[in-house]
C-alpha cells in the first residue's frame, strides 16, 4: 500500500500546485496557460483518485477503513492531539472521485465560460483552492482537520461568489453566505469543543465507536449539570447545526439562492455538487455517533423534509434559471438529509437503525452531483448564449443546441426520478427507507416533492428549449466545444450512474459500527414504491407539458405574473379549460401557496434576521454615544463600573 500512500499525496498536491502557480506566479495576462494548467493538474488528480478508489474497492479491504497517512499536527495535551491525515473508507473514496472528477470537468467548462473575463488566472487559482480544501475536508480522519478545511471551503466559496466584485449583488451575496455559514459554524465549533472535551479525542473513530454507557457521570456546563451522555447529545445537535448551515437547510437556506450571483461554473461545482453536500457528508461521516440519539435523527429528518418540500414549491415560481436550479439543489439536499434522519426505526418500542437510509442518502449525493452539476453547466451555456438569466428571454433553443438539449433532457429525467436514469435509483431507495422506517407523513411529503420536482424541472426544460424564441439573442446561438464537451461527459454518469453503481452502494456503504441492530432485512419490502414514484414524476412532467409545451399552450400567459385579469375573464374566454388551469396554477399555487411561503420567507425568517440586526445596531449606537469625550464622565465610569461589579460580579462579599 506504500504506492497508494505516495499517490494519494498527489490528489491534494496537484490542485494545491494549480492554486499556487495560478495565484502567485502566473501573470494575469496568461489566461490560456492558467486554464491549461488547471485542467491538466486537476485531470491528473481525478485520474489518481479514480485509480485509488478502484484499488481500494477491488482490494477487499472495503468497506473497512484505512488511514493512508497521518501526522501529528497540534498537541493540546498529552492525551488530546489533533492530527492531519487521509482516511480512506467507502464514503471518502466516493467523495474523492466525485470532487476531483467534477472539478476536472468544470475546469474544462470554465475555459470556455470565462474566456471573455479579465481575471481568468484568479478564477482558476480560486477554483483549485476550493478543490484542495474540499478534498482536505472529505478525507479528514478527525473533527479538527474537518473544521479547518470546512472553513477554508467557506473562504473559497466567499472568494468565488464575490468573484465579480464590481457587481454590488455579488459582494453582498458573498458576505451573506460567509457570515451566515460562519454563524452556523460557530455552533459546530462549540460542538467540537464540547465533544472533544468529553471524549478526549477529535478522532471520528473514537466518536463513532463510543457507547453511551461509559458516559454516565455528571458534567457541569456552566449553568446546569447534566450527565455526559446528555452533553454528548447537545454536542451532536451543535455539530449538526454546522451541517445545517453549510447545506443551507431551512431557515439558513437564504444564502444559497443569492450565491447564484457568482460565475456559473462556481455555482455548478460549489453550490450544487460538492460544497453544499458537506453538511450531509458531515452527518454521514458521524452517522454512528448521531444514531445514538434518536432525537437528533428526528431533527435531521424534520429539517430535511421541510426544506425539500419548501424549496420545491418555491422552485415552481422562479423565472431565473439559476435560481430554479438553486432551489432544486436545496430540495435535493433536503432529500439527502431526511434520508439520513429517517433511519431510526421503532421496533417493538425499541430504537433500531435501518442502514438503507444511510446508503440511499450517499447514493443520492453521488448521482445528484453529476446531474445537478450538468444542469448548472447547461444553465451556464444558456445564459452565455442569450446573455440573460430569465426564462422570458429563452425558448426554442432546442434546435440550436442539440447536444445541450439532449443532455438537459437526460438531466431533467434523472432528477425527476424516471427509470432508468440515475436519479431514479437513489431517490427510490430514499423513499423505501422512509417507508420502512414507518415515517408515513415524511414518505407522503417526499412523494409530493418528487412530483413537484418533475414539474418544475420540465417547466424549465420546455420553456428554455421548446416553443418559439422569445428573445432576439436566440437567433445566432451556437454551442462552443469546450462548454459542450463537459456537459456531454457528465451526461454519461447522469444516465448510467444509478444503474451501474447501485450494487456497489448497497454492498459497501454501510455506516460501520452501529450500536443498535441493523434491521433492513426484517422490514417488509415495498415493491410498489418505485412505480408510484415514477408515476407521480410522470404526472408532474405531464402537467408541465400541458402548461408550457402543449401545442397551442399559451406560454406567454403562463409566464406572465402581472396579468391579473385572467381570473375575472376566465369564464368568457375561449380556452375554457386552459383558463381553469392557469387560474388554478396562478391564483392558487402561485398566488396562494407560494405567496404564503414567500411571505413567510420574507417576513418571518427575514424579520428575525432584521430584528436581531436592529437590536445589535441600537446597542452599537448606545456604545458609541457613551463615548462622549468628556473626561469627568469617563472618570465617573470608573467609579460606577467599580460599584456595578461590586453588585453584579458574584463576589462572595
Amino acid at each position: 500500500m506504500n504506492n497508494l500512500t505516495t499517490l494519494s499525496y498527489f490528489i491534494f498536491l496537484l490542485p494545491l500546485f494549480s492554486f499556487l502557480i495560478n495565484g502567485l506566479f502566473l501573470k494575469s495576462s496568461y489566461r490560456k496557460t492558467a486554464g491549461f494548467i488547471s485542467v491538466i493538474l486537476n485531470g491528473f488528480a481525478a485520474f489518481i483518485a479514480i485509480y485509488l478508489s478502484y484499488v481500494y474497492f477491488a482490494s477487499g479491504i472495503a468497506p473497512g477503513r484505512m488511514i493512508l497517512w497521518e501526522n501529528n499536527f497540534l498537541v493540546f495535551s498529552s492525551s488530546l492531539k489533533a492530527s492531519i491525515g487521509l482516511l480512506l473508507d467507502p464514503l471518502s473514496a466516493m467523495m474523492l472521485v466525485v470532487i476531483t472528477f467534477i472539478s476536472f470537468v468544470v475546469n474544462i467548462y470554465s475555459i470556455g465560460y470565462m474566456k471573455e473575463d479579465r481575471s481568468t488566472t484568479r478564477f482558476f487559482s480560486f477554483l483549485s483552492l476550493f478543490t484542495f480544501s474540499m478534498l482536505g475536508l472529505v478525507v479528514a480522519p478527525n473533527l479538527f482537520q474537518m473544521f479547518f478545511f470546512w472553513e477554508l471551503v467557506g473562504i473559497s466559496s466567499y472568494l468565488l461568489i464575490g468573484f465579480w466584485y464590481e457587481k454590488p449583488g455579488a459582494v453582498s451575496a458573498s458576505k451573506q453566505a460567509f457570515i451566515l455559514t460562519r454563524f452556523a459554524d460557530s455552533f459546530f465549533l462549540l460542538g467540537i469543543v464540547l465533544a472533544s472535551y468529553i471524549i478526549g479525542s477529535f478522532d471520528f473513530f473514537a466518536l463513532n465507536t463510543l457507547s453511551l454507557a461509559d458516559f454516565l457521570d455528571e458534567i457541569n456546563l456552566g449553568i446546569i449539570s447534566i450527565s455526559k451522555a446528555q452533553a454528548l447529545f447537545v454536542s451532536s445537535i451543535l455539530i449538526f447545526i454546522g451541517g445545517w448551515g453549510k447545506s443551507a437547510m431551512f431557515p439558513m437556506h437564504i444564502w444559497l439562492p443569492n450565491a447564484m450571483e457568482g460565475p456559473t461554473p462556481v455555482s455548478s461545482i460549489i453550490h450544487s455538487a460538492t460544497m453544499v453536500v458537506a453538511g450531509v457528508y458531515l452527518v454521514a461521516r458521524l452517522f454512528p455517533f448521531f444514531s445514538l440519539f434518536s432525537d437528533t435523527l428526528s431533527l435531521i429528518m424534520t429539517v430535511g423534509i421541510f426544506t425539500a418540500l419548501f424549496a420545491a414549491v418555491i422552485a415552481c415560481t422562479q423565472k431565473d434559471i439559476k435560481r430554479i436550479l438553486a432551489f432544486s439543489t436545496l430540495s435535493q439536499l433536503g432529500y439527502m438529509m431526511f434520508a439520513l434522519g429517517s433511519t431510526s426505526v421503532l421496533i417493538n418500542g425499541e430504537m433500531a437503525i435501518n442502514t438503507l437510509g444511510y446508503s440511499a442518502s450517499i447514493f443520492h449525493i453521488f448521482t445528484h452531483a453529476f446531474f445537478k452539476c450538468m444542469l448548472f453547466l447547461i444553465a451556464g451555456s444558456l445564459i452565455h448564449a442569450v446573455h440573460h438569466n430569465d426564462l422570458d428571454s429563452m425558448g426554442g433553443l432546442g434546435k440550436k443546441m442539440p447536444w445541450t438539449y439532449a443532455a438537459a433532457l437526460i438531466g431533467c429525467l434523472a432528477i425527476s426520478g424516471i427509470p432508468p436514469f440515475s436519479g431514479f435509483f437513489s431517490k427510490d431507495e430514499i423513499l423505501i427507507a422512509a417507508l420502512q422506517g414507518k415515517h408515513f407523513i415524511v414518505f407522503g411529503l417526499a412523494l409530493l416533492t418528487s412530483g413537484l420536482t418533475a414539474f418544475y424541472m420540465f417547466r424549465f426544460f420546455f420553456l428554455a428549449f421548446h416553443g418559439n424564441a422569445r428573445s432576439v439573442h436566440t437567433a445566432h446561438v451556437k454551442e462552443s466545444f469546450s462548454m459542450t464537451l463537459p456537459i456531454v461527459i457528465l451526461a454519461i454518469p447522469s444516465f448510467l450512474g444509478g444503474y451501474l453503481f447501485k450494487k456497489v452502494f448497497l454492498k459497501f456503504f454501510t455506516p460501520g459500527y452501529i450500536p443498535t441492530s441493523n434491521v433492513s432485512e426484517s422490514l417488509h419490502s415495498a415493491n410498489w414504491v418505485p412505480f408510484a414514484a415514477a408515476i407521480i414524476a410522470l404526472i408532474g412532467i405531464f402537467l408541465a407539458w400541458v402548461f408550457y409545451a402543449r401545442p397551442y399552450a399559451n406560454v406567454k400567459k403562463a409566464l406572465d405574473e402581472t396579468n391579473r385579469k385572467t381570473f375575472y375573464k376566465w369564464i368568457y374566454h375561449k380556452f375554457y379549460f386552459d383558463e381553469i388551469y392557469y387560474a388554478f396554477v396562478r391564483q392558487f399555487i402561485f398566488k396562494g401557496v407560494a405567496a404564503t411561503i414567500r411571505f413567510f420567507e420574507d417576513y418571518v425568517v427575514g424579520g428575525a434576521v432584521k430584528g436581531s440586526v436592529f437590536i445589535i445596531k441600537k446597542a452599537g449606537e448606545l456604545v458609541r454615544e457613551a463615548q462622549s469625550g468628556f473626561a469627568p464622565f469617563y472618570i465617573g465610569t470608573l467609579i460606577v463600573g467599580l460599584l456595578l461589579w461590586r453588585f453584579l460580579g458574584n463576589l462572595p462579599v
Binding site: 459582494v171 470608573l638 460606577v640 458574584n650
Partner: protein
Amino acid sequence: MIHFLIPDLLLLILPFLIVVSRIFSSKRSLIPWYVAFLGLITIFVLLNCITVGETQLFLSNWKVDRFGILMREFLVLAALMGISFSKDYFNHTSDFTPRMHQLSEFMGTVIMATFGGVVVISASDLLTFFIGLELATIPMYALTAWNKKDSEGSEAATKYILMGSVATAFELFGFSYLYGFSGSMHFTDIAASVLINPSSPLLWISVLFLLSGIGFKLTLFPFHTWAPDVYEGAPTPVTAILSVTSKAVAISFVTVLVFGPLNGVKEQMAPFLALLAGTTLFVGNLGALKQYKLRRFMAYSSISQAGYLLIALLGPYEFALSSIVYYLFIYAFSNFLTFFIFGVIERNRPETFDSLRGLSKESPILAVALVIALFSLAGIPPLAGFLGKFQLFYSAAQNHHYVLITFAILNNVLALYYYIQLIKSAWVEPADPTAYRLIVNLRQKVWIIILSVAILLGAILPFLNDNIFKIINY
C-alpha cells in the same frame, strides 16, 4: 549562577545606551536607531538561548520562570516591531519636516515601558509588582503626548493620565487591603493566607479594586472609555504600541495575580472574570460596528480582543498560560500588520475607511496582507488567529464555562461582520482618483511580508504553538 538575569539587565541598560549614543553622534545619525534595533535583537536571541529550567529566584523578589521567559520574548519582539513601525514617522519627508522628533528618546521610552512589563512578570512581591506596572504605564503617558504641537495628542494624554491615576489609586487601594489581609508583601505568604481564609471581606474588596484598576489598562468594560479617544489622539505608532505592549503587560498582571497570590480563590473569581470577559468582548464588538475612522475602529477591535484574552484565564494553569502566550503573539502579529498597512495609508491620506478604497488595484500586496491580518483577528481558519481563539476556548472548556464560550463564539460572527466591512472598502469599492499615491518603503514591505507569512504559517506549521505548550508544561 545568575545568567538568567543578563537579558533583563541588558534591557534596562539599553534605553540609556540609546540616549548616550545620541549625544555622541550627529543629529541625523542612524547610530541610535541601530543600537536600539540590534540591541533588541540581541536580547531576543539571548532570551531564546536561556535554558528553561526550574523557576529561578533572585533576591527573593525577582522571579524568572518559563512563562516569564516567553513573555519577555513577546515583549521584546513587540518593542522591536514598535520601533520599526515608528521609524518612518521620524524620517524626513520631501518638505524636510518629519512628523515626529527625537527618535532616540522615543525608542528609549518604548524600551523603558517594555522593561516595566518585564518587572511585572518577574515580580514576586507587591512592591515590585506595583513598580513594574507603573514603569510600564508612565512611559505610555509620555508617548501619547509625544507630538507637543498636536492638540489632539495632548488632549488624549490628559485623559489618559487622569484616568490612569484613578486606576492606579484603585490598584494601590487593592494592594493595601491585600497587605492588611495577609500581613505580608510576598506572594507566597499572601497565597498561604488566601488558602486559610478564602472568604474574608478584606480579600474580596481588594480583588474588586485590583481587577477594576487593571481593567482600565486592559480596557475592560466599563473602564474602556479612554481607549477609543486615546487610540485616536495618540500618534499612530504609539497607538500600535499601546494596543500590544500595554495590553500584554496588563494581561500578564492579571495572570500573575490569578495564578499567583489569588490562586486559592480562583474558582470563586471565575464568574466575575467570565462576566468581565463577556461584557468586554460584546461592548468592543458593538462599538466597532459603525466606525469609519481606522484607529478608532482598531481601538474597539482591541477592546474585544482583550475580552477574548480574559477567557483563557478561566482554564487550568498550563492551558491558560500557553493559550495566552500564543494568542498574544498572534494578536501582536495581526495588529502590527494592520497598523503597518494603516501607517502606509495615513502617510498622505485621511485616516478613514474611504482611504482604503481601491487598495486591491493600487497595491495588491497591501490588500492581501490586510485580508490576512483581519481574517486572523476575526479567527478564521487556516490563519493563526483561529488556532489562538480555539485554544482560548479550549482552555475555558476545561473548567466548563460553556455559556461564556458560546457567547464568545457567537460574537465572533459579529466581529467577522465589521472586519469584512474593512475588507470590502479595500477590495470592492472603486478607487478615489484624487487620492494621493501610496508609497511603501523597503522596511515596511519587509515587515508586511514577514508578518503575513508568520500569520499564515503560525497555524499551518504548528511548531510555534507546540513549543509554547511544551515550554509551559514540561
